[in-house]
């Protein structure tokens, strides 16, 4: 119990609501060490250079815990007949795994990310379809670059129920979003993760520790990490530019809309004036034309992209802040070390 409390308090971020306030069926995720190792290996071998690697998570649901016991990777999308291949590949894999008694219940999927940039339309759509089909599914985001810096970075996200509603309606306009009061902070909710191993695996781990040399690379305490900071800030700037463009688009839209309102108003007034004039002269009034045909309302820009970009920016800022706090700690340690020379 104590370790669970520790894990739920340690993973509270302003990006998503914490484990304590989740009102979804899954309050905690329990992963086996095997899954972690497989994900790491998959990225290491197949992920160099390409954008993301993906795979499927298998497991089962126990009470309010989602246990992930195995996973298998997806091949890369190189050919164009990937669609049909994918479904068939998945079916084949699950059937075969069933033969060897591996849990074949689909409980989610995993994806690797580049410097934390995973909030995209594609992710949203995939997660929506998963969550729609299976209530408790999650997406595990594995950040290999952050892991290489010293600490395993694995996060689990689900869509909030509000966002699910919106996706279902496909209503991405401003009014729709306002109705559901979905902000970029309410898009995803993070579920706390706990790693658990069986006793046999623990014996294996003991054996490995016995037979391997102590790792002599303390990456976590490495001071020279400005490269990472640079890249993150670069991505952040790109995203802010995107958001800026989006805002400009929205502004022009609202300006156009108000201009059009004015024009409509003026037209109506003129019409009325003319009609009264004609009436006073005794001529038949002009027919009332359909205003909506004359003044077509401009296309409302979809707000979903803005929301996604804002969410992404939030994520980047979060990562950068975490990174800087770690580095500050390291700098102070270096100072202490130096101070006694």
């Amino acid at each position: 119990m104590a370790s669970r409390k520790e894990s739920s308090s340690a993973s509270s971020t302003p990006m998503a609501s914490t484990g304590g306030t989740l009102d979804s069926p899954v309050k905690q995720i329990q992963i086996e060490g095997l899954v972690v190792l497989k994900i790491i290996k998959h990225y290491q071998e197949e992920g160099q250079g390409s954008e993301v690697v993906q795979g499927v998570l298998l497991g089962l649901v126990v009470d309010d815990r989602l246990e992930i016991t195995n996973c298998f990777p997806f091949p890369q999308h190189t050919e164009d007949d990937a669609d049909f291949d994918e479904v068939q590949y998945q079916m084949e894999m699950m059937r075969s795994l069933r033969h060897v008694n591996i849990d074949h219940l689909h409980v989610g999927w995993y994806q690797s990310t580049y410097y934390g940039s995973f909030v995209s339309r594609a992710l949203l759509d995939s997660q929506f379809s998963y969550q729609h089909a299976i209530e408790e599914s999650v997406v595990l985001i594995y950040d290999p670059i952050k892991t290489a810096q010293g600490s395993l970075s694995l996060k689990a996200y689900r869509l909030t129920p509000k966002l699910m509603e919106i996706c279902k309606e496909k209503d991405f306009t401003t009014e729709g979003l306002k109705k559901a009061s979905v902000g970029f902070e309410n898009m995803f909710e993070e579920v706390p993760i706990v790693i658990k191993n069986s006793h046999l695996i623990n014996v294996l781990l003991w054996e490995l520790e016995d037979k391997s040399t102590v790792s002599d690379k303390h990456e976590l305490l490495n001071l020279s990490s400005s490269n990472h900071l640079e890249k993150s800030l670069q991505l952040l700037m790109d995203r802010v530019d995107d958001l800026n463009q989006d805002i400009v688009k929205y502004n022009t839209y609202s300006r156009n809309l108000s201009k059009q309102q004015q024009q409509k108003h003026q037209y109506l007034q003129r019409r009325q004036q003319e009609n009264t004039q004609r009436q006073s002269r005794g001529e038949p009034p002009l027919p009332e034309e359909d205003i909506s045909k004359l003044f077509k309302p401009p296309q409302a820009p979809p707000r979903m992209d803005t929301l996604l970009i804002a969410g992404q920016i939030n994520n980047y800022c979060q990562n950068v802040k975490e990174f800087t706090s770690q580095n500050l700690g390291k700098l102070f340690m270096a100072e202490a070390l130096q101070g006694h020379n």
Binding site: M1, S3, R4, S7, Q30, G33, L34, L37, K38, K41, Q44, E45, P75, H99, V100, N101, P144, T147, A148, G150, L152, T174, L177, G183, E185, V194, I195, N197, H199, L200, N202, V203, L204, L205, E207, L208, E209, K211, S212, T213, V214, S215, D216, L220, L221, V240, A310, C317, K321, E322, S325, Q326, L328, K330, L331, M333, E335, L337, Q338, N341
Partner: protein, 331 residues
């Protein structure tokens, strides 16, 4: 204050070293935690030199070295736990890459099989299918051999090995002792060799190969995290975040330093004889802290801290900005 003590100790040590004429070149990493158990003679240091090497000395080495990734072993243990009722062991295929001097095992999958007193049936169709599926994800992996849980090599193994020699040239047979017969999980690898009188009765002998564990960097970090799940009584571990990780890494280093210090104290008080190579490592360790004038260091530190603070401020500003933007839009 640890550093000051270390400096002091190394100075005393180097004075002593000048008197010593014997130099024993045993490669030891002074930061390894195995130090306190093997203080003293040079022979003891030879043993400490990475138990992987000790393993090396025990087994005779013929043929290539087999390098195994931990994910393979975890997978094997997992399939052993999920075996069917009545099956005493599990077998499967191992995949990996072969190169001139070594064989790297990177993946595996289990194959259903039935084993009884006099016959063994392995589902080969399944094995082929799985291999095809795996090939689509990682086309560079080839069938290296097969694995079996359990300590001994039975006659059935010979048959299975024969099948696998049709799939791959010179297959490797890996055994993982999940029943922990000798109190440890022995992991061994074998190649088969023909033996007997040529032309007449020919038999098959399994010659052992040396086994090493290799990790990618990220794998190492993952395994380190998993190691920590052994400690908590409920066998679970949450993933901690930012500053607490730096704190725990720092405390690990501190533990190592305390161990080294304790050893130095013992040497200085004469309880343990000094070893020059360890002394040299200690000298390296202490010299790693760069000697910069206090003023220069102040400047560097301040500029770095300023950079980081600025970045923090900017990211906070950005977050505030987008929150504001959202409120305005949704008004």
């Amino acid at each position: 204050m640890i550093c000051a003590a270390l400096m002091e100790a190394v100075r005393c040590w180097s004075l002593r070293a000048e008197e010593d004429a014997v130099i024993s070149p045993a490669p030891v990493n002074p930061a390894s935690v195995s130090l306190p158990q093997h203080r003293g003679t040079a022979a003891a240091y030879q043993l400490t030199a990475g138990v992987g090497r000790a393993f090396f000395f025990k087994m005779s080495v013929f043929g290539p070295v087999v390098k195994i990734h931990p994910v393979v072993l975890a997978s094997i243990c997992d399939s052993y736990e999920r075996r069917n009722e009545g099956a005493s062991r599990v077998i499967g295929t191992i995949l990996g890459t072969i190169d001139k001097h070594s064989i790297e095992v990177t993946n595996c999958f289990s194959v259903p099989h039935n084993e009884s007193e006099d016959e063994v049936a392995v589902d080969m169709e399944f094995a082929k299918n799985m291999y095809e599926l795996h090939k689509r994800v990682s086309p560079t992996e080839v069938i290296i051999g097969w694995y079996a849980t359990g300590f001994d090599i039975t006659e059935h193994s010979v048959l299975i090995h024969e099948y696998y020699s049709r799939e791959a040239t010179n297959p490797i047979h890996l055994t993982v002792d999940t029943a922990l017969q000798s109190g440890k999980m022995n992991i061994r690898a074998y190649v088969s060799a023909q033996m007997g009188v040529p032309g007449k009765t020919v038999g098959v002998m399994f010659t052992p190969l040396s086994v090493k564990y290799i990790y990618y960097d990220t794998e190492r970090i993952g395994v380190d995290l998993l190691q920590r799940t052994r400690v908590t009584p409920s066998r679970t571990k949450g993933l901690t975040s930012d500053l607490s990780q730096v704190g725990s890494a720092a405390s690990r280093i501190q533990d190592m330093l305390t161990t080294v210090l304790a050893y130095i104290e013992d040497v200085l008080s004469g309880k343990v004889t000094a070893d020059n190579s360890v002394g040299r490592f200690l000298m390296d360790l202490v010299n790693k802290v760069p000697t910069i004038t206090a003023e220069d260091f102040e400047n560097m530190l301040n500029s770095n801290i300023n950079d980081l603070l600025m970045v923090t401020y900017l990211s906070n500003l950005t977050q505030a900005q987008i929150a504001l933007n959202e409120k305005l839009v949704l008004l």
